[in-house]
């Protein structure tokens, strides 16, 4: 088990990590998500030993490892821009960590082939880094990080730069690789789909702080704050102000922050209703209708389209409501 305790890092006036604590269970995937600039890459660098925290510490299996230099930690890190060595071939990049671990040549060669096959690049051994596509570079970087069997594998926005199709494909592959190898993974992203697609545990960060952690399901059901709820993909996040407006209009009972699933928002045409249709779009097999009621936009799942401007009545079914403790 890897534990980060009260870690603080600042760059001048900017506090990148504000007393961050995080524990990473072994053999599973922990996704750290947050908007860009929230400090998630810095957290990885602290764990990797590339960044010394001002205070706080990192423990591995109960022992502090703060003084251990990066190369002795046995933690793999895959960089956002891959950081592939331009002067080495694909094979030499992948085999780099093995050479550092003083494997013999034959074993390295076998392992490199195995890794390249794993990431779908069999036969790329002698290719030059300069001539790879973005997706291929990502796979080489992944293979390179995996090859030495790191105790913890950290990935910093590993597929952020790629197009969507490639991202989904790679996500699936990574999931099966992580599961298949029973890896301990820390995965950093700003994308909720990646997070929910890969995570056993999720930690949401903002401005150098971890706001909430938990399993995907738990997090989804108990986002705790409007910010987290919005960030992990809740579609109707009602903060306190909106709640007051909705309560005043009689749409909800109490003026408390909450999230409402689109399915729980029932919309019916009513000439004197409090709301009107702003937009109705056909997305993935059904209609998503935005209605404005009491100055608040709500997204509703609907089976049929409604013309823009239609006056509507809105009712919320309680089972689709999750209460939030905080606004932000």
């Amino acid at each position: 088990m890897l534990a980060v305790t009260d870690v603080r890092v600042s760059f001048g006036d900017l506090v990148a990590l504000r007393d961050v604590a995080l524990s990473v269970p072994l053999g599973s995937t922990t996704v750290v998500m947050g908007p860009s600039g929230c400090g998630k890459s810095t957290l990885l660098r602290v764990i990797a030993g590339l960044q010394q925290p001002e205070r706080g510490h990192v423990d591995w299996m109960g022992e502090p490892i703060d003084g251990v230099p990066p190369h002795e930690r046995g933690f793999g890190l895959m960089f956002q821009d891959y950081a592939l060595f331009p002067h080495r071939s694909v094979g030499a990049n992948v085999g780099f960590g093995l050479r550092m671990a003083k494997w013999d040549e034959a074993a390295i060669r076998a392992r490199v082939s195995e890794m390249l096959e794993l990431v779908g690049l069999a036969g790329y051994t002698t290719r030059s880094i300069g001539n790879l596509s973005g997706g291929e570079q990502q796979r080489v970087a992944l293979a390179r990080a995996l090859a030495p069997s790191p105790r913890v594998l950290m990935l910093d926005e590993p597929i952020g730069a790629l197009d969507r199709d490639l991202r989904s494909a790679l996500m699936r592959e990574m999931r099966s690789i992580f599961r298949g190898l029973e890896l301990s993974v820390i995965y950093v992203t700003h994308d909720q789909h990646e997070a929910f697609g890969l995570a056993d545990h999720i930690a949401v960060m903002r401005s150098g702080e971890i706001l909430r952690t938990g399993s995907p399901e738990h997090l989804w059901n108990h986002p705790g704050s409007a910010f987290v709820a919005r960030f992990i993909g809740h579609e109707n996040v009602i903060d306190r102000k909106a709640a007051h407006q909705l309560a005043a209009a009689g749409v909800i009972d109490a003026p408390n922050p909450m999230t409402i699933t689109p399915e729980a928002v029932a919309v019916s045409p009513a000439p004197t209703g409090p709301g009107h249709v702003v937009e109705s779009r056909f997305v993935t097999g059904r209609y998503r209708t935005t209605v404005r009621v009491a100055g608040v936009d709500l997204l509703a799942a609907a089976s049929s389209a409604m013309p823009t401007g239609t006056r509507v009545g809105v009712t919320i079914s309680p089972e689709g409501v999750t209460h939030l403790e905080r606004d932000t």
Binding site: R99, K102, W103, D104, E105, A107
Partner: protein
């Protein structure tokens, strides 16, 4: 698992280079330890064949190490800088233009070699016997015999200022060249400062006569002089009395006559001395080395190796030195003290004049 270190190109390259040097350096160290040694400090123009030193070692058991360190001026300066802890036992190559400085700095301890009897008194310039003349040479005007002949060549220095010789002469800067300084000194002897025709007047006439000044002998001789191996267009150059024989000896095929000849008037004699360095630890060996440098074994070699004349009168000259040149009978000389006292101001005045 075992790890086979990957030999990188750089590492193997370095290893190769180190081995290369080590191999050869060991070779040098392998010589037997000699019974005794002596070190000779001299200038870059010094050269004698190895068998000369072998002979010295055979007769005396002393092994000579030759240190060469730049031109004569540099070597004298080196000796002065290290006089408290000398790098050598004997200095050879201090000439009459630098002699007083060396004596003034107490570089040498007196030693009168028995072999000095064979050396003309005129070459012995230190009455206290601290230095021993070993060789001498005359800095003389040389001319291209394909352009000029005995009749048309300048018969003396003064003729150089003659309009007929305009654009013909190339000399060296006395501030950077030893023959250049020697030539300036010979004009100072020929045209004394207090005469009606002082050297300053002569040189300003030379300047009006389009004299060419180069930094050193090499540029003057090879790039400005037209005679012999020179590629320039000026038929008169300041060089040495020994240059015409060299032009014959170092030519293939050998010519019957020399392509250059010497003007015997206005030559300046440079005498090169050897001295036992004060503070040297091997004074006895040093004295034996000086004796040896006046012996026929050594003296026989100086003409053809350094193109200077042996100080020992008994030394036979190579036939080329007899046939193709003339040793000036009455070369200019100046007392070393006078040179030392005035060298800087003469050079400075000359530089101002010619600029």
């Amino acid at each position: 698992m075992t790890h086979r270190p990957r030999p990188t190109a750089l590492r193997s390259g370095i290893a190769l280079l180190v081995l290369l040097f080590a191999a050869t350096a060991c070779g040098n160290d392998a010589a037997d330890t000699p019974s005794s040694e002596v070190t000779l400090l001299t200038h870059d123009s010094f050269a004698v064949p190895q068998d000369v030193w072998d002979e010295f070692e055979r007769t005396t058991g002393i092994v000579v190490t030759v240190l060469q360190g730049g031109d004569a001026g540099t070597v004298v300066n080196q000796a002065i800088l290290t006089k408290d802890n000398p790098t050598a036992d004997v200095l050879f190559g201090i000439d009459n233009t630098f002699l007083s400085r060396g004596l003034g700095e107490d570089l040498f301890v007196p030693y009168r070699s028995p072999a000095l009897d064979a050396v003309p008194d005129s070459l012995e310039l230190d009455p206290e016997g601290r230095v021993t003349p070993i060789t001498f040479g005359d800095v003389c005007l040389n001319y291209d015999t394909t352009v000029l002949d005995a009749a048309t060549a300048p018969e003396d220095l003064r003729a150089l200022a003659d309009p007929a010789n305009a654009g013909r002469l190339v000399v060296q800067n006395p501030a950077t060249s030893s023959p250049g300084l020697a030539f300036l000194l010979s004009t100072i002897v020929a045209f004394p400062e207090d005469s009606d025709y002082p050297w300053q007047t002569f040189w300003s006439e030379l300047r009006d006569n389009d004299v060419l000044i180069t930094d050193g002998w090499e540029t003057a001789y090879y790039s400005a002089f037209s005679g012999g191996a020179g590629e320039g267009d000026r038929p008169i150059v300041v060089s040495y009395a020994s240059s015409p024989p060299a032009e014959v000896i170092f030519a293939d095929p050998r010519p019957d006559t020399a392509p250059t000849a010497v003007v015997t008037d206005g030559c300046f004699r440079q005498v090169e001395f050897a001295g036992v360095l004060a503070g040297g630890e091997r004074q006895d060996a040093a004295r034996r080395l000086i004796d040896f440098m006046l012996s026929s074994t050594f003296q026989d070699e100086v003409a053809l190796n350094m193109f200077v004349f042996p100080a020992n009168e008994a030394t036979p000259l190579p036939p080329e030195f007899v046939e193709f040149t003339t040793v000036p009978s009455d070369p200019a000389t100046l007392s070393p003290d006078l040179i030392e006292a005035n060298r800087d101001s003469w050079i400075a005045e000359w530089t101002e004049l010619m600029r």
